[in-house]
């Protein structure tokens, strides 16, 4: 969907005149107007997250919550091998998925931005439409494709390419990665596209004029200038992916379990909300750190290319 609104009237003269002041002060009106939404977001987003944070320091005994502050949940979350394993695998999967997604989507964004012509928005729409359909259904279709008796295997066998079904396609981390990349592929295009659109084309022409080949001008001008979009895309994919529930459950089998399963378990039969809260907080903190490091690494690499 076109979140790409690239128009910007340039204000050349000294300060832009503020809005009319004869009614109540502008600040009061603005705050009043945004208050319902803000209150909603605070009470149903910010507050709950704070509560999760609080819960992570408490403990639960069957149905009663003990509010004495404790770090036991974090100790479990961080040091118990099972959770370490889950968290580690989730981080790796989310890192791989986000990098792969961005890498395969970047050329598409380039194509649409530089060669899309008048139909840019149409291209964008066609590419993002699959994304807006039910996530559940899309994961299901991959299960159908990758299964032992699934489309890929039976297709290959009936075409005579293989005579044994390949067992290793489904119910492991690879299946999870493929499915997730497919889900996020089109989402990643949007921020990259917006970034590329903002690049003044005459900058590229100037680079050519000053002696760069097409490849060099791409690496030295387009890539650095599109970095904000790439970073956005990485974040949009990396952080939600780490907490994905549906994909590992449907196609992950035993090998592809991710941390979300463990979190969900604490709220179902496991009934250990504080632990679930601690796992959630830990996951968020760790993935944010990883995201930050990835972005840093990316910036360093791009700076080297100059």
């Amino acid at each position: 969907m076109a979140i790409a609104a690239s128009h910007a009237p340039a204000e050349l003269a000294p300060p832009e005149p503020p809005r009319p002041r004869w009614s109540a002060s502008e600040e009061a009106s603005g705050l009043a107007l945004i208050s319902p939404t803000l209150l909603y977001a605070i009470s149903l987003l910010a507050l709950p997250i704070l509560i999760v944070f609080a819960y992570s320091f408490w403990s639960q005994d069957y149905l009663t919550i003990d509010r004495a502050l404790t770090l036991q949940n974090y100790r479990t979350a961080l040091f118990e091998p099972m959770y370490q394993d889950l968290l580690g695998r989730s981080l790796v999967i989310s890192l791989v998925v986000s990098i792969v997604t961005v890498v395969i989507s970047y050329p598409i964004a380039c194509f649409i931005s530089f060669h899309g012509g008048r139909h840019k928005n149409l291209w964008l729409f066609l590419i993002t439409v699959p994304c807006w359909t039910s996530y559940l259904l899309r994961v299901m279709s991959w299960k159908v494709i990758l299964g032992y008796q699934g489309v890929l295997n039976t297709g290959l066998m009936s075409a005579g390419v293989t005579d044994q079904p390949i067992a290793s396609l489904l119910y492991n981390s690879n299946a999870v990665v493929i499915t997730l990349v497919h889900s996020w592929a089109a989402f990643a295009i949007l921020p990259i596209f917006v970034s590329l659109e903002k690049i003044d084309r005459s900058l590229i022409e100037a680079a050519h004029d000053l002696g760069d080949t097409k490849l060099m001008s791409f690496l030295r001008v387009v890539l650095p200038l599109s970095l904000p979009g790439v970073i956005s895309a990485l974040l949009i994919v990396m952080i939600p992916t780490v907490g994905d529930y549906v994909t590992p459950k449907l196609v992950g089998g035993k090998d592809g379990v991710m941390i979300a399963t463990a979190i969900q378990a604490q709220f179902g039969k496991g009934a250990n909300w504080p632990l679930g809260a601690a796992l959630s907080v830990t996951t968020m903190v760790v993935v944010s750190t990883m995201a930050g490091l990835t972005v840093l690494a990316l910036k360093l690499v791009v700076r080297r290319i100059r």
Partner: protein, 374 residues
């Protein structure tokens, strides 16, 4: 200072100041605009002319001072209750309504009845010659057509004052000149007060009954176009409208006829007495327009002459602009000559003689220092 007309002015602006935070957009602005006149606010970007216009319209309110429209103070009165209407720089044509609906927009509240409304809309559109485009929408019209819709929409409400915010700046040169003529005749036909904001000096000169030139949030001079052009009050005003040759001189005395100033190459000149007191012996800045210096050909002689050498020239089709170096003068003089007599053939380096009229000089005051930040 503003002239004091016999009848009460249509718009009276009294010592208006406008601050945006610490930035001073308008500084002690006082101005009277007479009913029925075509008045222009002229100045470079950032001089405050648009802020002043918007204050009259009601979109900005002054930090101090008064604005009276047709005798009533407009301070605190919102734009929809003022007897003014505005043509916006972007025209602001409502995109979801067609031309007729746009023009009828302000009439809806008056509840005139469908027939009367249609009649008035038709008359307004005919006046701007858009009668045949009534059903079109904004994006189907050219820039000039949209501007005329904006005019019709404002005029159909019969305001006492029409405010125009750089209405022609988005049009190309040829169209702009055509629209200037149309605006002038429209104003004469309708007979109401027009206040135009522009940075185009020629536009202001061509259209206005009177012009207020503004710099740095202040009014530098208010006068008729001819007077502003021929007798600019300050250096900035002189330089902003047309070209100007600046000379320095020294005041040596005053007589009944005026102020006597001694100059380097132009002898002793007598100039009209200025409003400010000038000390004898003080330095004075004088100006003379390039077109008031005349080339002398062959044996022609004139009572006041100078010799010089062509330093540079630029050909402009009808005219040639010459830069003439005169010994003893720091900067070369600018001259404009029509090419009828061969000015375009003068090579760089040619020796020429020029004539000047001692009455064509003006005394130019210094401009007040510009302090924009309080």
């Amino acid at each position: 200072m503003p002239e004091t007309p016999m009848i009460a002015p249509m718009i009276a602006i009294d010592r208006v100041n406008k601050f945006y935070g610490i930035y001073k957009a308008l500084s002690d602005v006082s101005l009277d605009i007479v009913a029925g006149e075509f008045f222009s606010l002229l100045g470079p970007s950032g001089c405050g002319k648009t802020t002043l216009l918007r204050s009259i319209a009601g979109f900005d309110s002054p930090s101090s001072g008064d604005i009276r429209i047709d005798g009533q103070s407009a301070i605190g009165v919102p734009p929809n209750l003022r007897p003014t209407n505005m043509v916006f720089q972007s025209y602001a044509i409502f995109p979801h309504l067609n031309v007729e609906e746009n023009v009828a927009y302000g009439l809806k509240r008056l509840k005139l009845g469908a027939d009367e409304e249609r009649r008035r809309v038709g008359a307004a559109l005919d006046q701007v010659r858009l009668g045949h485009l009534g059903k079109r929408r904004g994006h189907e019209l050219s820039g000039g057509q949209r501007q005329r819709v904006a005019l019709a929409r404002a005029l159909v409400l019969r305001p006492k004052v029409l405010l125009l915010d750089e209405p022609l700046s988005a049009l190309d040169k040829k169209l702009r000149e055509e629209m200037q003529v149309e605006l002038r005749s429209l104003q004469k036909a309708v007979g109401i007060t027009f206040v135009l904001v522009t940075h185009d000096q020629y536009e202001a000169l061509a259209l206005s009954d009177r012009i207020a030139v503004m710099f740095g949030g202040r009014i530098a001079q208010v006068a008729t176009p001819k007077e502003i052009y021929q007798r600019p009050r300050t250096k900035l005003v002189a330089d902003f409208l047309g070209g100007m040759n600046f000379l320095s001189g020294r005041t040596i005395g005053q007589t009944g006829a005026g102020l006597t100033v001694e100059t380097e190459k132009f002898g002793t000149l007598t100039l009209a007495m200025p409003e400010e007191r000038i000390e004898v012996g003080a330095r004075a800045t004088l100006g003379i327009r390039p077109e008031r210096l005349r080339l002398l050909w062959d044996d022609e002689r004139a009572p006041h002459e100078l010799t010089g050498k062509v330093v540079d020239r630029a050909y402009f089709g009808e005219t040639t602009h010459l830069s003439v170096g005169v010994e003893g003068l720091e900067k070369p003089l600018s001259m404009i000559e029509t090419n009828t007599y061969g000015a375009d053939d003068l090579p760089v380096g040619a020796d020429i003689r020029l004539a000047y009229d001692p009455d064509a000089f003006v005394l130019l005051a210094d401009d007040p220092p510009v302090e924009r930040v309080q």
